[in-house]
């Protein structure tokens, strides 16, 4: 990567131009997210930097959009709904998903590819199709517009992520450990909770975080399957952006960016821990 001392002028010029191009692409990736943060402290109801903000005048900044978010009942209801729906959906997809991932990683599974394709399909099928199908079907069985309908739908959407992360962790799992545990008299349930689970926990947790963010971020399915009582944060943002665009959205966006930074850090730490553990166990 480093430029060799014998590089020609042309190579030098290209080397630095290339770095500038990469810098611009990184800027393109991160700038739209970063720009939202200072704008959310705007004391005016504008979506752009005011003169006071640019001259760093304290009068140009305020917390009024945050105050609005925490006092407005619409936003508070939406936040509360999101907080109620996402963990339930995550719990459902993680418990069923982990069990199935363990089953899938056994050496002899009939029709493994077909089962895998079926379980991953919610990730591949366009959301609008899932949403339409669920809307028609759930209204027929009386689940549309209910809390459990939305939880069920979100759990289905989160399952592929749990399956992918947990099976990836299980690839590095040493089967002789479970045999050793059984040999020493542990029953399958004890083996699972005392031996297997602690080792695959990083994969399970990052799968859970993926499932959580899928449900927490999801708009299309909840719009169709849910009713006004299940209005979540992203739904409220969607209607906000569509109809009367209010600057409170910027405050919400900033809060969500902070949440995603926290989730990203957790997943990265878990991934490193899992790689360390895998490096230690033989095979």
């Amino acid at each position: 990567m480093a430029l060799p001392p014998y590089a020609s002028t042309g190579q030098r010029v290209w080397h630095y131009t290339f770095r500038v191009i990469c810098g611009l692409i990184f800027f393109f990736l991160i700038a739209p997210i970063v720009v939202v943060i200072p704008l959310s402290f705007n004391s005016q109801d504008f979506f752009t930097f005011t003169k006071e903000m640019l001259s760093l005048d304290p009068a140009g900044y305020s917390l009024k959009h945050y105050r609005d978010f925490f006092s407005n009942p619409d936003w508070q209801d939406a936040l509360w709904n999101s907080v109620k729906i996402a963990p339930a959906a995550t719990l459902l997809s993680v418990s069923l998903g982990t069990l199935a991932a363990i089953g899938l990683s056994q050496p002899h599974v009939p029709a493994r590819r077909a089962i895998m394709a079926t379980l991953i399909s919610p990730m591949i099928v366009p959301l609008i199709i899932s949403a339409a199908g669920m809307y028609f079907f759930y209204s027929r069985i009386g689940l549309a517009g209910t809390y459990w309908g939305v939880v069920l739908a979100h759990a289905a959407l989160g399952i592929p992520f749990v399956i992918i992360t947990v099976t990836a962790t299980l690839v590095g799992f040493d089967r002789s450990l479970t045999r050793a545990a059984a040999n020493m008299g542990a029953d399958p349930v004890t083996t699972f909770f005392r031996v297997q689970m602690p080792l695959i926990l990083p994969g399970v947790i990052s799968g859970a975080l993926f499932a959580f963010i899928t449900s927490f971020d999801e708009v299309v399915v909840v719009i169709f399957v849910g009713s006004a009582k299940q209005q979540t944060l992203p739904w409220q943002m969607f209607t906000g952006l569509r109809e009367q665009i209010s600057p409170t959205i910027l405050a919400v966006a900033t809060i969500l960016v902070v949440i995603s930074i926290a989730l990203l850090t957790t997943v990265e730490l878990l991934r490193r821990r899992s790689e360390r553990l895998r490096g230690m166990s033989p095979g």
Binding site: M1, Q11, W14, R19, C22, F28, L29, I30, I33, V35, V36, F47, T48, L96, L99, A100, G103, H108, P110, M116, A117, T118, L119, I120, S121, P122, I124, V125, P126, L127, I128, S130, A132, G133, M134, F136, F137, A153, A155, A156, I159, F161, I164, T167, A168, D217, V220, F224, M237, F238, L241, R242, L250, A253, L256, V257, L263, L264, E268, R271
Partner: protein
Amino acid sequence: MSDTTDTGGPVLAADGTPLKRSLARALRRQKMRALLLIAPLLLFILISFILPVADMLYRSVKNGIVTDTLPRTVVALADWDADSGDLPSEAVYAAMAADLKEAAAAKTHTKVGTRLNYENPGISSLFRKTGRKAKKFDLEGVSSWKEELIDINKGWGDVGNWRTIQTYSPPVTSGYFLNAVDMRVGPDGAEMRPEAERIYMNLLGRTLWMSLAITVCCILLAYPVAWILANLPMRQANILMILVLLPFWTSLLVRTSAWKILLQQQGVINDILVWVGLVDDSARLVIINNQFGTIVAMTHILLPFMILPMYSVMQTIPPSYLRAAKSLGATDWTAFWRVYFPLTIPGIGAGSILVFILAIGYYITPALVGGTKGTFISNQIAFHISSSLNWGLASALGAILLAVVLGLYWAYDKIVGIDNVKLG
């Protein structure tokens, strides 16, 4: 066990059963256990996801409403030859009167009208107007229902209307699909709609080309980034990786609203352009609510999905290959184009299919920044579900979209393998 082989009989396991059978049983048990672990989830996915999608697909051909509401008419109409140009017989009119009386009492006559109106605009008013009087029909007291019905509404004397009823009386129809590909059932079978009425194929074409444009933009932007991530020392690469992963983890709505704010006419980008002097204040650029806005925002949103597979492929290419090519006399460009680039094609392929699959089904971003010119087929599906309530057509459009996506998914599975999907 070695002594059992001496006897020449089958090899026995410890409990005395032949080893072969014992092994088979163990294997069967293992399979059963694996399946039992998978079964709850499989059942869950079947009920919460696969059945709903299958139900939607069935809806795209389902057409029970005409037979359910007008059962007698459907039977009576079966023998009528629409091509003869004559109106149906007296018996058909009588059956229709009886059906309408019942339907009007159950208030289902407008539903049939709405359904047939998708195929023959105007026919719903015929049903609505006749339905109002149908409740008071005296089925025995009228000698000729043919005259009576035509008297109530001239539409009953139109062969075209009867043809529509007859065409859409079977319980399964291809009508929605024909509609979805801009065709209709004419007097001589399926035919294309007039040029001005062709919407959906244009929309599908636009969805495909915009997804392609987004994929190409993603390839162009992701390649240098993936290369620099794969070639920098670990520590620096990890820091830059955060810049890729943060957008990946940030809420889709946040990124879309950020673009909405940036691209507005009074937004940050236009402000900067005016401030720099590139654009006059009175001639601010329109870069939102059109195709440009959709392509920019979606390229940004989908870029991490291209960078990550490219990066994982480039990481496995030893840098010594490039050095070897150069030491054999290749220029920088030849070494890249003949040695490095071909090795990265699997990464490009994997990323492109992934981005294309995700792009083609997008709904939220085009709905918010696409205006009318930059919307996708998903937006039309949503419109037919929630606004026009033509669920059959929505399902048919969905089925076509699903077929395209599943084809690509199959290709992805062949090229990359679904087991190799990696996240983060």
